[in-house]
Symmetry: C2
Subunit: 188 residues, 2 copies
């Protein structure tokens, strides 16, 4: 997040110009007076949430896009090798390769997990609203969710609530490798 006022004024004007709208046209579309629109664009006024709402709906954009400067820049290409990142935390039986850690602007983390034969773990519910994605890359495993164990073969994916009791286990005799996305709602 940054200073919102400057961002708001700039993007608002940019959007309007992009559509070729005059202040009058924008006023008609949003229900906000053109005088106020001009002041906001010039940074002389900081609108209330009510008018912010009118602006967003009138322009058909999200409130977020008006408030949060989206690309915090520095969008560099990143390359990760799971082989190099993989490590065994504490108890083991499982290895984790944190490919792309959580970043607020994306809202999720992305990693590779390896479950060795016999591994089993029941996880406490996370923060409310968390959603987990799992794709089985090799081997087979089972996910506990909605009160039963769900078998997943290679190539299968599952999406389930992370804020409910859930678990992972590998009852096969070869290791299971999965890709995991954990999406957090509230921090976005």
């Amino acid at each position: 997040m940054q200073d919102p006022a400057k961002h708001l004024s700039k993007t608002l004007k940019a959007i309007r110009k992009d559509r070729g709208w005059s202040l009058d046209a924008a006023a008609a579309a949003t229900g906000v007076s053109k005088a106020m629109l001009g002041q906001i664009e010039r940074g002389e006024s900081s609108p209330t949430t009510a008018t912010l709402w009118k602006l967003a709906t009138g322009f058909q954009v999200s409130v977020t896009s008006l408030m949060e400067p989206l690309p915090p820049g520095a969008e560099k290409t990143l390359i990760r090798d799971a082989e190099a990142l993989r490590h065994l935390p504490g108890d083991s039986g499982m290895a984790v390769a944190p490919l792309f850690p959580f970043e607020p602007r994306f809202g999720f983390e992305y990693m590779e997990l390896t479950f060795h034969p016999g591994y089993k773990r029941l996880s406490e519910p996370h923060e409310v609203g968390v959603v987990e994605y799992i794709t089985v890359i090799s081997g087979e495993m089972e996910i506990f969710t909605d009160d039963n164990w769900q078998p997943l073969k290679t190539g299968m994916s599952i999406r389930f609530r992370g804020d409910a009791p859930h678990g992972y286990r590998n009852r096969g005799d070869e290791k299971a490798v999965v890709m995991t996305i954990i999406h957090y709602p509230t921090r976005r």
Copy 2:
């Protein structure tokens, strides 16, 4: 989006109560007077973007979470089998299995791509702010980004801008399978 006023008042109070803060404590943390805080929580006042900013930073949450009602709930567990979903669009040489299509509240789509030997494709830049993640599940391939071809072996991942010219090719003699996440910025 919904009526923001009610959402704001409710969530603001919920967050404050969740932390066990009094109006005084919240006022100290945010820099907004407790009288105003009370009015906002009661829906009697619609704050300006400036104070909305103070609230978000003081409570250490995103502006978005205060403005946009997040998950409409009903988070059912979903299971996808790439084998069943996989299909070849048009020209072919590539197969796509759309595991989890785009949903606004998550902000990304998630799919499996298969590139057959000899496949090559240069992609036009997408919408600005788009970021792509690719993990090579099997085989090897190359990604064109930042003006050169980046080789990726099995197990390697890359993250790059989708709003710049980029491409995919498979110069090996076995097919390459990758998992792809395409993240869209604040699209509505």
